[in-house]
């Protein structure tokens, strides 16, 4: 089973929402990643069930505004802050399967994101003072 152009597009939007560029963290955002080739590599090696699960996960992420914000819109059509909000709510959704799907995408795309040479080097590099977070850390989903 292969990924289609539509899957690639959904994957890119989802990954860029999960791993945006941030100057403070000095980590390259997902826009630098070769997501399409990475997915094709997975399709060549992983069982079809896993590929199918990823396809469903991308689809669900694309329609997440409907599932989480009650808006008839795709993830792509939203402004970045709303994209993040829609996916965040999906990641902590009361429905176990929905939140697992986002967790799977987060896990799979993390393999690519952290393997990106400058990101890997940054993660392993000498420690710096702790970075400040934006959101209240104890936010209850």
């Amino acid at each position: 089973m292969r990924f289609t152009i539509g899957d690639h597009r959904a994957a890119r939007i989802t990954c860029e929402t999960i791993f945006p560029h941030d100057d403070h963290a000095e980590l390259a955002g997902a826009e630098h990643l070769d997501i399409e080739n990475f997915l094709d590599d997975i399709a060549a090696h992983a069982p079809w069930r896993a590929v199918l699960a990823l396809k469903v996960a991308f689809l669900v992420c694309m329609v997440s505004p409907l599932l989480t914000l009650g808006r008839f819109a795709t993830l792509e059509s939203l402004a970045p802050e709303y994209r993040e909000k829609a996916l965040y709510k999906l990641l902590y959704h009361p429905n176990y399967f929905l939140r697992q799907l986002v967790a799977v995408i987060k896990g799979v795309s993390a393999l690519l994101y952290s393997a990106y040479p400058s990101n890997r080097a940054r993660i392993l590099s000498a420690p710096r003072p702790l970075l400040q977070l934006i959101r209240s850390p104890s936010k209850v989903p």
């Binding site: 963290a25 955002g29 896993a50 896990g107 040479p117 080097a121 993660i123 392993l124 850390p137």
Partner: protein
């Protein structure tokens, strides 16, 4: 740019040869490239080259038998190991690491699928089988004097000698392990440094992607090459479909080549016996495909689900240096059925543990040098099943019980408390229904009251047991006390599918010792003639 992995440079410029560099010519047949069909005869055919298979092959070869090892995965040499988790997952792991237990909760089950099996990607922790487990097998499962500590002892000793088992040394303890030693000691958990199979560990924390210096004494650099040096042969990229039975006894194996279009047929005949060592998930289904019938086949599957917790501290923890898993506590093993361990995650796996997404996730990844990760390992009481799905895939169904969940939660409470005692700024419980980030020790009580629903937790299963368990009679289990399948002469199972229960400690040492014991019994037994 200089490599973030100075070790890699060291390896590339290292004149030292690894054990898998210089294998006897003709000893490895890569079925992905070999001329097919193949039809050869040996005294024994061993299915699987992991912890159980490699040891069995070595012992039988040492006893003077001709032995062929059949391994489904490729032989990835030490020099070919890549530090990136993604490529390692696709190359070294079963189903590219997308395999999962089914049941109430989605639980990834990780297994190696390469020469050396799961020992290529594991953390090399060595634990002798606890005495209470062996007693339980003797009394409650009727094994009596068939499997005793006395019988296992010489095998543990030999393995510890061969694989250089010793506790983690100061030089490679690393920050994550050292912090656990301190905090667990402070709350009376009597932590210890982990004993591991290693020779000169450099503390690269890369055990999961294959040891780049062959310091880890996995089967790929020990018993497999040692077997080949003694005259054994290895057929890799060769998946065994079934065991051939003739006149009710095992006479060989039939399978096909992997990673090529023309699968062909590869037949290895076994004059003295077939040794099944394909692991708890695969062995029962190979037996099933071979026509073995027993009502216990595929039943009584057990595991040790692992549940992690992360913490961000002010100080530099740098879990990327040190033994991948270097500190542990078994203090609550008997009372709460849990064991605590540290674990260092490769950079690629850090985001998986970090809560949330977006800019905060990215900043937490930026703080990863300050991250400590510890794990609760549960000796679950629940039993599951191993079967074959309609597409022929291995299917494992398993769900933890409510009692299991109480034990896991008790473990997570300990970890959260120890992390705050260490001065954690943030603790990430990873339990749905709780805030994803705890910032004050007062919030530990939220963990105490956390839901017992398994779906609220994130588990991983990597220790697997049962599904073809040992019993004196066919009405009680699949395999007898000589490791032969009841009613099928010359067919032996030597992996942890024969274990009547799980252990509460890491299984590789028990698996190897049992396999070694089995091989000696098999070698000493008079041949059963076809």
């Amino acid at each position: 740019m200089t490599s973030p992995y100075p070790l890699d440079e060291a390896r590339l410029n290292n004149p030292q040869r690894f054990a898998d560099d210089d294998l006897p010519e003709g000893s490895v047949i890569d079925c992905a490239a070999a001329q097919l069909p193949i039809d050869e005869a040996y005294d024994f055919v061993v299915i699987g080259s992991g912890a159980s298979g490699a040891v069995a092959a070595h012992e039988l070869t040492s006893a003077g038998f001709s032995v062929a090892i059949a391994e489904e995965g490729p032989y990835v040499r030490t020099r070919e190991f890549k530090k990136e988790v993604g490529s390692a997952f696709l190359k070294l792991f079963r189903d590219g690491s997308f395999q999962a237990l089914e049941g109430r909760v989605f639980m990834p089950v990780i297994q190696g699928r390469c020469v050396g099996g799961t020992t290529v990607v594991n953390s090399a922790i060595a634990w002798r089988t606890p005495e209470d487990v062996v007693d339980e097998w003797a009394t409650q499962f009727g094994l009596g004097d068939a499997i005793t500590m006395r019988a296992l002892e010489p095998h543990f000793e030999a393995l510890e000698h061969d694989l250089n088992v010793h506790a983690v040394v100061d030089e490679v303890l690393g920050g994550n392990n050292a912090l656990f030693m301190k905090q667990a000691g402070a709350v009376g958990l009597y932590p210890t440094r982990i004993k591991r199979y290693e020779r000169g560990c450099k503390g690269s924390s890369q055990c999961l992607t294959g040891c780049p210096t062959a310091a880890k004494q996995g089967m790929n650099v020990t018993y497999v090459p040692w077997t080949l040096a003694l005259g054994g042969r290895l057929f890799c990229n060769y998946r065994v479909e079934r065991i051939e039975l003739a006149g009710g006894r095992a006479v060989g194996v039939i399978g096909s080549a992997q990673s090529r279009r023309d699968k062909g047929t590869i037949r290895l005949r076994a004059k003295r016996g077939v040794i099944l060592a394909a692991s708890t998930v695969q062995s029962p289904n190979i037996l099933r495909r071979s026509g073995v019938c027993n009502r216990h086949l595929g039943q009584h599957f057990q595991t040790h689900p692992g549940c992690g917790m992360g913490a961000v501290l002010d100080q530099d923890i740098n879990m990327y240096f040190g033994a991948t898993q270097g500190a542990e506590s078994i203090h609550l093993r008997a009372s709460e059925r849990i064991k605590f361990e540290t674990i260092s995650m490769n950079p690629e796996l850090v985001p998986v543990r970090c809560p949330g997404l977006g800019v905060d996730l990215v900043r937490r990844i930026g703080n990863a040098r300050h991250l400590a990760i510890w794990v609760t390992i549960l000796r679950s009481q629940a039993e599951g099943t191993v079967s074959q799905g309609w597409t022929g895939r291995d299917r494992v169904v398993f769900s933890p019980t409510k009692r299991d969940m109480e034990h896991v939660r008790a473990g997570q409470v300990y970890l959260a408390r120890m992390m705050f005692d260490a001065g954690a700024r943030e603790v990430w419980p990873g339990i749905y229904g709780l805030p994803p980030v705890l910032t004050s020790p007062d919030q530990v009580k939220l963990v105490e009251e956390a839901p017992l629903e398994p779906r609220a937790y994130t588990f991983i299963a990597s220790h697997l047991f049962g599904a073809a368990r040992m019993a004196r009679t066919a009405t009680g289990g699949v395999v007898d006390t000589t490791f032969a399948v009841h009613g099928v002469p010359n067919l032996f199972v030597v992996d942890s599918s024969v274990f009547p229960t799980n252990l509460g400690v890491n299984p590789q040492h028990s698996i190897m010792a049992m396999s070694r014991l089995a091989s000696h019994r098999i070698a000493d037994a008079p041949p059963t003639l076809a």
